[in-house]
Amino acid sequence: MIHERFDAIVVGAGMAGNAAALTLAKRGLKVIQLERGEYSGSKNVQGAILYADMLEKLIPDFREDAPLERHLVEQRFWMMDDRSHTGLHYRSDDFNEERPNRYTIIRAQFDKWFSSKVREAGAVVLCETTVTELAQDAYGRVIGVKTDRYGGEIHADVVVLAEGVNGLLGSRAGLRTTPPADKVALAVKEMHFLPRETIEARFNLSGDEGTVIEAVGTISRGMTGMGFIYANKECVSLGIGCLVSDFQKSGETPYGLLEAFKRHPSVAPLIAGAEVKEYSAHLIPEGGYKAIPQLYGEGWVVVGDAAALNNAIHREGSNLAMTSGRIAAEAIFQIKSRRDPMTAENLALYKKMLDDSFVIKDLKKYKDMPQLLHIQSQNFFLTYPQLVSKAMQNFVRVDGTPKVEKERTTLRSFVKARSWTGLFGDAFRLARAWR
């Protein structure tokens, strides 16, 4: 056991853990951060989207040296059936601003950079160190952690659990329950490497401009899920995710879906000739507001994915992770400055501050969405995409049929598939969940 005492231990060096450790260290607390991967981000191989605003709060001048890929000038939404996609395409030169709002990043590189900032701020960062257990005293209060290193028990006033979606430590210590299969999605992802110029030509980009495609439809075979394509500098990240419970029920495999997604005639040309590296699978907490577990206790707080803080509708995770990590650290700092102990009662401050932030407010807004999408998955992910495709084709194809008739055919096919009440009901439910 290490006799040196720390103010705080941060478990995990993902977005949430790095934000927490950075904030604590900047505030002058004595922090040790433990990460099981070889370095921060080594397990987070995928490309992702970064939201600048939340990072700016932590590192205002991050644009100077952070490994950013492309800033997003464009967002495409696709509704897909097996041979087509119907798209909504938003692009604006406004996004070519001085301080762009969203970037694509490659997590492995980004996290490594983030971690170097944590180190510079004065935190002790130990990688290749897995926390095996929380150390608790006779009253069940968390007093530190045990690790897989020889002589590796460490004590501190408070433990920040930023261990990601699996949250084994929290579950093992009985601080939370393992999220059920219908509250987590399994996403599989690949990186397809292509020459820069090829990517720019295929996605209609220049310089460091980037684009994102998000796709729903028959690609998820009727399950609640979504496919995505991000253009990075020299690679395209591409993946698909669905609820774990849906996979269990349907017998589909994530990799099977990904293969089909890649073969789709709308996707295949984008990645043709690429060299595939880094296949990865990862869970995403998708239970939304209703799935948020207890966030604090005697000597501990939980942040980021480990706390199921993830906005499935907007595909936001890392910003909620960063923000919750930062807020937890601020709360700990306030308690510490008052020289108060890290009791559950005092740590409730974290929950209170989080409730006042966009994190909980956003999650509350969409609290009914996950369930709706889940129950209606056949309609939202199979029927509607097919209908929309049919309608579009009907609309676009010129074959001598009178336009009035075309419209009637389209409408008829909608009603036939879903009935009037079904259609209105879906629209109503969707609107209500969104509100």
Partner: protein
């Protein structure tokens, strides 16, 4: 006892990609690691220190980011780390590399005590030459033991060391005098997992950083690109073979028979050769 271990940070070559059009290396996202062979050298050094006392200094020449590798070596339990970094070192071939490393080792000897043994890996996975070890030895006038699979007894009073060295067709048992340079063979040991105390110390340690001047380099023209007698003129992808394999289709026929037929159809002479070989067994 003072032991110096030379380690190199290398791109994890399993993850290197080649630009399909220009045939240049696409470096993006390729992680770096400590050259795997160097870990055998490091463990051999740490084991000797644990047995006989003393200190282990790790040394690398590389870009500033090579500090990561050094810190990792400290986590395993090395006592000190020296990073030799300077733009003058860029583009070095093995001869220029050994010049820089040998100069730094002399300086380490002066500042931290004369080394009894310098360890290197058998080879790197990027340069892959196995020349840097022998080159350092020659420049420092150290006795050289390459492809060592086992460090046997080490007598600090008599200043002798016995090792087992892999050679063609067998193992040589050699005895030589200290100071010497040892290049370690792979699979000769397994790198330890540092303790929590090692890890904490490593996280806080200062890595010593030397420029060419700090290290005492006298002739900068012997470093880097300028000091390299070899020149890379062309880099290209291995040429593709014109035709793909002819694929054996088997319907009702057992696949084994179909395959054998296809093999012998393509090279009829092979059957007689194989029959002869098979008889020989």
């Amino acid at each position: 006892m003072h032991i110096i271990v030379c380690i190199k940070q290398v791109p994890d070559s399993a993850q290197i990609r080649v630009h399909p059009v220009t045939n240049t290396i696409m470096r993006q996202g390729v992680p770096t690691i400590i050259n795997p062979y160097d870990l055998f050298a490091l463990e051999a050094a740490l084991a000797l220190r644990d047995k006989l006392g003393g200190e282990v200094t790790v040394l690398t020449m590389g870009p500033p980011s090579a500090e990561d590798s050094l810190r990792k070596a400290l986590t395993f339990g090395a006592d000190r780390a020296v990073l030799l970094t300077d733009r003058f070192f860029a583009g070095a071939d093995t001869l220029a590399t050994t010049y820089a490393l040998a100069t730094a080792i002399r300086k380490i000897n002066d500042v931290y005590g004369a080394a009894d043994i310098v360890f290197t890996g058998k080879q790197t996975i990027d340069g892959d030459t196995a020349q840097v070890g022998p080159g350092i030895a020659k420049r420092l006038g150290l006795l050289q033991l390459t492809y060592v699979s086992k460090v046997g007894s080490l007598d600090l009073t008599a200043r002798t060391i016995d090792v087992e060295r892999r050679s063609e067709g067998g193992v040589q048992v050699l005895r030589t005098r200290l100071p010497c340079l040892v290049t370690m063979l792979e699979a000769s040991n397994e790198i330890r997992r540092g303790t929590m105390a090692d890890a904490l110390r490593a996280a806080r340690a200062e890595v010593v950083k030397w420029s060419a001047q700090d290290a005492g380099v006298e002739d900068i023209s012997k470093c880097g690109l300028r000091g390299s007698p070899t020149i890379v003129k062309r880099v290209f992808a291995p040429p593709a073979r014109a035709e793909r394999a002819s694929m054996v289709e088997f319907g009702q026929e057992p696949p084994a028979d179909a395959l054998i037929k296809a093999i012998f159809a393509r090279q009829p002479k092979l059957e007689a050769d194989l029959a002869e070989l098979a008889r020989g067994y």
